[in-house]
Amino acid sequence: MSGLKREGDHAHRLEALRGTTPQQPHDARAIAALAANPGCARRALMDGAGVDKDAAARHLGFPAPFGQSPFAITRGNVFEALVKADGCAELLRMLRELLGLTVAEVAYHDVENVGAHLRHAHTRTLIDRAARDGHDAGTLYDHPLLSLEIAGHTAYLEPDVVAFQLGGRFHIVEIKSFAVIDGQADPSAVAAAARQAAVYVLALRTLLEELGHDPLKVSHDVVLVCPENFANRPVASLVDVRRQLAVLRRQLTRMTSLDRLLEELPEDLTFDLRPDEDGRPTRPVAELGDALRRTTARYAPDCLSTCDMCFFCRDEARQEGASDLLGRQVRDELGGVASVTEALGLADGTRDPAEGQEEIARLLRNAERLRGECLA
């Protein structure tokens, strides 16, 4: 009973954190990014509560530095349309080659046709039937709507992907518009795609499990479809996402333990933007900033490409003079000396090392002496 009560409290607290701001739905990209910086309590809480981080950052005067070029968006859409044209004819050709299939024909279900509110239920029914039948004919599911439980909330995932099922086995197909040139693609783009696809694999496995099927019917090899070389012609490759799945699972388990983080916060704390009728935030900026600063962020320069809050947290790190600003490598090298002043104090000997800092202090003093000698 007490467990149930705590869970209710927990959801209630998260709702209070979000306040009157509409909930920001999690997409696969956001869920995948959670795994990028698992130690950040600020991000965990904001995501857990479904706060629109982009809107919050804008309101604070620290808009995120990323945007997408209209040229890139157009190119992405054109490519996806090409792959999916004529009931995914092109996709089928590639799958035949890649998975060594001999199927002459496949059934094609566009789940989108049923209307948004029914899509998830419809996806469930279709997948359930497919898993039950296990017949040998292939089936493609376009626009399926999957769901995943994130910190007590159901996140709906709208993949631009297609789930392909054959002989009772499911493959997630992910369409991306970055090029594969002579068999090689930008490693960071592939890694991001793999993290996203892992979210879909997990969601589909969870669905199968709920329906009483074997979750391992979903393959951990996802099919990545990209343009080949410099043309628009698509090429498919298999990507093993087991590692990404493991990271994601660990991170999601951690998310459900938000209780501990919530307990440390004052009762009345909220990240509410107080949007007016037009959705414009009305909350005083300083007040919102103060509320956010009550939670601990773990800024790292990698945040600059993944998190909407990055400039706000970087500014905070600057004001605190945190060595995090210089990147994880420097931070690791400093062996736990968190502030710039502290490290420099140890280096020039104006500060005595605390217990456990003797070794790093000796190294820093030596480094300082050497720099002084060489630059004199």
Binding site: I73, A179, R233, L326, Q329, A367
Partner: protein, 475 residues
């Protein structure tokens, strides 16, 4: 990154200005570098949008593809680019010197080589892709392109690949070179922004550097806001002049920064090893030119197993040599090894120039030098040592402790009964000894390409140019 560099970054952050991490310049700077700032169309792998380039800072050439999805315009751009780059590159082939080699025929080496400077690592990557998209084209056949295009493709491929070779200066990425000489007070990730890094080095950090309206990105990717608000409407207007002027605004600021960065590097005196590494660059460049002149096919899409292994081994040796040379050339780089105990420096407090070992015919001169040092020495007795002060000399560690290190000189002190004048350091001289040595390493024994074992895919197929390659889509 070493603790020494980390400390420099902390100091930079504290003082609000970048700190030097080198006392000499470790890259070659050409007398007439070609600065090349390319831009690509967002979302495409290698669709060129524009480039600003030239060897004269007051007269940059601006080449623009006013409609990037038009294949004809794109090849016209490639031909125009070839019209600037090829004469520059080929201009270095006329003056050569004959190099004698042991166990091999002498060869001709260019006395100077081209240097194409790009803003950042992404720029190098884009050059490689441009090279890849051009080198298989043909001037004849069903999809003819100007003859210069495939040739430029081969050169761009060469420069892009050579940029990955440690110590090479044929295609330096500016942010990387600056980062090797100065530590900023920001992360390595943020150092990839040329405007931001230069601000740290010259005037101190500035938020303007991250504002694309003030400092547009140094490419090859353009600012998404610019794409949406300026470039897309300009392209829709159908006015080539408008597109050209829009792109000029994005390239001109970076153009200025590139020359400012060159001046900064030129302000540092070149390290002793720079000339010999440039000599290797000249040799490599001449080799590539000979390859093309002999009518060899374009570089393959992927290296065969043997070629890849050989390339990797060469790069590993180059990296090791580069690390050692920089340490010998620059006390601040050597300091990193002193910090870890692989090197030490100090004052000579005692010597025994006439010390000998052995008797009779096997009696050998082994001068003894005792050095007082504050460095934490972590070298075992018997370790062989070298010294930047006397490059040809070899020494051996005898004992170390209590801030005193005894070494004996084992080679490079002359053949006489007594050491050659100046071979043994005098009392009071400051010296540095290190276990790092640039010893010659032989290349690994690899089979001929025709004998590639089946475990590595068997002998690679010989490249036969075909029409399919030549007419590969470029959309």
């Amino acid at each position: 990154m070493s603790l020494l560099t980390s400390l420099a970054r902390l100091r930079a952050l504290d003082e609000g200005i970048a700190q030097p991490i080198a006392t000499v310049r470790h890259c070659h700077l050409a007398a007439r570098p070609m600065v090349f700032v390319p831009l690509k169309l967002s979302g495409e792998a290698a669709a060129p949008l524009a480039a600003m380039l030239g060897t004269d800072r007051d007269r940059p050439r601006l080449l623009v593809v006013t409609q990037p999805r038009n294949r004809d315009l794109r090849f016209a751009w490639a031909a125009e680019l070839a019209g600037v780059l090829l004469p520059y590159v080929e201009g270095f082939l006329h003056r050569t010197e004959t190099v004698e080699r042991r166990n091999a025929d002498p060869y001709e080496r260019a006395v100077d080589a081209p240097q194409i400077v790009v803003p950042n690592q992404a720029g190098v990557g884009f050059v490689r892709l441009l090279g890849r998209s051009m080198r298989f084209r043909r001037a004849d056949g069903p999809w003819p392109v100007p003859e210069s295009v495939p040739l430029l493709g081969r050169w761009l491929t060469y420069f892009g690949e050579r940029a990955a070779y440690p110590g090479s200066s044929l295609m330096p990425a500016m942010t990387e070179e600056l980062g090797r000489h100065w530590a900023s007070g920001q992360s390595g990730l943020e150092d990839a922004n040329l405007a931001a890094l230069l601000a740290w080095i010259t005037t101190g950090p500035s938020d303007d550097a991250e504002d694309p309206l003030i400092w547009p990105p140094a490419g090859p990717a353009t600012d998404p806001g610019f794409d949406a608000e300026v470039l897309a409407p300009a392209m829709e207007s159908g006015s080539p002049e408008r597109v050209t002027e829009a792109l000029r605004t994005q390239l001109e600021p970076t153009w200025g920064l590139m020359w400012q960065a060159i001046d900064l590097l030129a302000g540092l005196e070149a390290g002793a090893g720079v000339a010999s590494r440039w000599e290797q660059d000249r040799g490599s460049f001449s080799g590539m030119a000979a390859h093309i002149a002999e009518g060899a096919p374009p570089q393959p899409r992927r290296d065969g197993a043997v070629a890849a292994a050989a390339k990797l081994a060469r790069m590993e040796r180059a990296q090791a040599a580069y690390d050692v040379q920089r340490a010998y050339d620059d006390p601040l780089v050597m300091a990193e090894y002193r910090l870890t105990g692989e090197a030490f420096a100090g004052e000579v407090v005692d010597t025994d120039p006439g010390n000998t070992e052995g008797e009779g015919r096997s009696r050998k001169l082994r001068p003894i030098v005792v050095i007082k040092t504050d460095d934490p020495v972590r070298l075992a007795p018997g370790a062989s040592l070298g010294t930047p002060q006397r490059r040809g000399q070899g020494a051996e560690l005898v004992s170390a402790g209590d801030g005193l290190v005894t070494v004996k000189i084992t080679k490079g002190m002359g053949r006489g009964r007594t050491a050659a004048p100046g071979a043994v350091p005098e009392i009071g001289e400051r010296v540095c000894y290190t276990s790092l040595t640039d010893e010659f390493q032989g290349s690994p024994a690899l089979p001929d390409a025709e004998a590639t074992p089946w475990t590595h895919g068997g002998p690679p197929q010989e490249y036969v140019p075909d029409d399919e390659d030549a007419q590969e889509e470029w959309s």
